[in-house]
Amino acid sequence: MTDAFDVLRSATRARVALGRAGDGLPTGRLLEFRAAHAAARDAVHSPLDVARVTSDLAATGLDVLAVASAAPDRATYLQRPDLGRRLAEGTELPGGEHDLALVVADGLSPRAVEEHAAGTVAAVLERLAGWSVAPLVVATQARVALGDPVGEALGARIVVVLIGERPGLSSADSLGLYLTFGPRTGRADSERNCISNVRPPHGLGYAQAADTLAGLLLASRELGASGVVLKDEGMALPPGAG
């Protein structure tokens, strides 16, 4: 059945022409909204299954290490982004000399990491023949900038953080990739490049994201920098992402 309101519905993903019950929302629409919000809330608060992600990542043949940020729990993590950017006291990582470190971080959607991180990492590694890659790191209660001390400790020239993005109402499992050349504590967000919304089949696919990232990695290694200087090839970092 098609009516004139379907013209509106087909024109946008926005929740138009929902109808009314009195001045409120009809029950069906109310429950749909609650379901979407519940999925987003659960994505934020369900802890990362570190064992599962570690085992998925081990299929790459690389060692997998687990670290935690200085934020002891989810409530602190949400209120103290500064703690999520620092490693927990006493964290030790094996130093070395690597072209690249990959950090898989729970961020604001552990679910995105569980669903998409291993697939993305595998696709990225396939495109980097000849690169020396540090042991993979799984980080919990982590912000993007936690990749800086991790990459620095591992002795990596470039760090890529694969992190769960803040869940939207219709996208609770979106993974973001953040590239930083010369990782060290104190790097600014303007020194990073971002590929957002890795979330097949609705968002970016693994191969597509890995193609873009591999291009950025080559350009970054060539230039000896990342961030706004690479802006044309990737997406600039959205505000507040750090």
Binding site: A11, A14, R20, D23, L78
Partner: protein, 470 residues
């Protein structure tokens, strides 16, 4: 600068500076903890409030929270202050000022309360708000009358306007139009039809402005458009002859915060002057629109005051109003739940902040609205936004923001739905802006009782509007 102290239950609390008194007197919120300026116990908070209550209001004329020499917001406020307007309360302490406001509010004395605006500094208003309970903020807020206009009139008694926000992730014209028409069919859009563009470019801004302008012209809607691009982008659009009703900009309460937004006070003056020259108003000449929000200065690292001490985010928010009022805005709103849990953690903090922001903005003379909203990592849900919306309606809030089904598919956060605005108007017996209400009647979109009709798609009124979607 003298240390101030208060003794509570045998324990003496000392506050070395005015900045600390203000910060520690602030009701709890995560952003002040993050900044390192929050009270470390509930008792210390009350001790700071006790000290604050005894401070003469004139303290804020003699002693600064952010220095005069180093900050142009402080200079703007102090250099344009109207000493006569302050006269009725000049001799009061902050605590006496609260009592005076509550007494005038109970007497429905809007003239006395509203007359203070140009004599008050943001810090005075922030201070008194810190002593108030939520109901105090509602009671006084509803008696601070601020009326503005361009093609509709904002802020009249018994009215609740709404900004229709038809955002789209790619600024797609058909998608924007669908949300816009959905809003109009729900009686939304009397404050402004305002789009946050996905791309901040002059070309995109002009395209969106022309799109809204075409709908407004086609249906002769007494409202205004806005594309919330950076002020420099809007200036370029103005140069190219675009139909700019309102100049928009996000502003903060410190010079550094505004630098973080890429704006100066001169730039805002230039943009306002350019918009005024277009003379697009019919019922008034207010041509600016500002958004603010607690935490914006801290997020820009521009939150330090006298002596390098962190200033609390609510005081800094009030200073942003000190910026906004200089440009005679049509609309100002705080985006209260948008910034995230590191600034306002949960519903209690968001509701409190929303009521504070409305009260403080109104007292300083601003046409204050609120984007009642939240992100998914903040502990807020639609029950909480219902609570805040109804409280704001009772407080005489000038306008709220509405998006289709509460879901902003461009900015990825939840604001109010069109239905939420209808519910608030119904429950609190509030009506749209008068010019817009007359238009709804003309279009037969409301019934005789003024209630927005629930139309089927083949109703003639719906068909008339939906013609614009093709």
């Amino acid at each position: 600068m003298t240390a101030r102290r208060a003794t509570l239950a045998g324990h003496t609390y000392e506050f070395p500076s005015l900045v600390e008194v203000m910060a520690k007197a602030t009701p709890a919120r995560s952003g002040d903890v993050l900044a390192g300026c929050a009270a470390t116990s509930e008792a210390e908070r009350v001790a700071a409030q006790t000290v604050l209550a005894d401070l003469p209001l004139t303290t804020f004329l003699d002693e600064q929270v952010v220095g005069y020499e180093e900050d142009d917001v402080t200079r703007l406020v102090l250099d344009t202050l109207d000493a006569e307007a302050l006269a009725p309360v000049r001799s009061h302490t902050v605590g006496e000022f609260r009592d005076w406001l509550l007494a005038r509010a109970a007497a429905a004395d809007e003239t006395a309360i509203s007359g203070l605006a140009r004599g008050l500094t943001p810090e005075m208003v922030a201070a008194v708000s810190k002593l108030m309970r939520n109901a105090d903020l509602v009671a006084v807020g509803r008696r601070a009358r601020v009326v503005t206009g361009l093609r509709s009139t904002i802020g009249l008694p018994g009215r609740l306007a709404s900004r229709l926000q038809p955002n789209h992730p790619t600024d797609d014209a058909v998608g924007v139009t669908a949300s816009l028409l959905d809003g109009l069919l729900h009686g939304s859009g009397d404050a402004v039809i305002g789009i946050n563009p996905a791309t901040d470019s002059p070309a995109q801004t002009i395209a969106l402005l022309e799109l809204i302008d075409a709908v407004i012209s086609r249906y002769e809607i007494p409202t205004q458009s806005c594309v919330l691009a950076h002020v420099t982008t809007t200036l370029r659009a103005l140069e190219q002859g675009a139909p700019v009703d309102l100049v928009f900009q996000s502003v903060a309460g410190t010079q550094g915060g505004n630098e973080g937004f890429g704006v100066t006070l001169d730039l805002l003056t230039e943009a306002r002057t350019a918009a005024l020259e277009l003379k697009r108003g019919t019922v008034g000449n207010n041509v600016t629109y500002f958004e603010t929000g607690q935490g914006s200065a801290l997020s820009a690292g521009a939150h330090l005051g006298v002596g390098g001490a962190p200033v609390d985010q609510q005081t800094l928010e009030c200073r942003a109003y000190g910026v906004a009022r200089h440009y005679d805005p049509l609309l100002v709103n705080t985006v209260v739940g948008f910034i995230g849990p590191e600034y306002l953690y949960d519903a209690k903090q968001v509701i409190r902040a929303g009521l504070e922001d409305h009260f403080c903005g109104k007292l300083l003379g601003l046409p204050m609205g609120v984007d009642v909203c939240y992100t998914n990592h903040t502990d807020v849900d639609p029950d909480d936004t219902d609570t805040l919306t109804l409280l704001l309606g009772a407080a005489g809030c000038s306008f709220v923001i509405a998006v289709p089904g509460s879901d902003d598919v461009m900015l990825h956060y939840q604001s109010l739905s069109f239905q939420d605005v209808l519910t608030a108007r119904q429950v609190l017996d509030l009506r749209p802006a008068p010019e817009f209400e007359a238009w709804l009647q003309k279009m037969d979109l409301v019934d005789d009782a003024g209630r927005v009709r629930e139309l089927t798609a083949d109703a003639p009124q719906a068909r008339a509007l939906l013609a614009a979607a093709r």
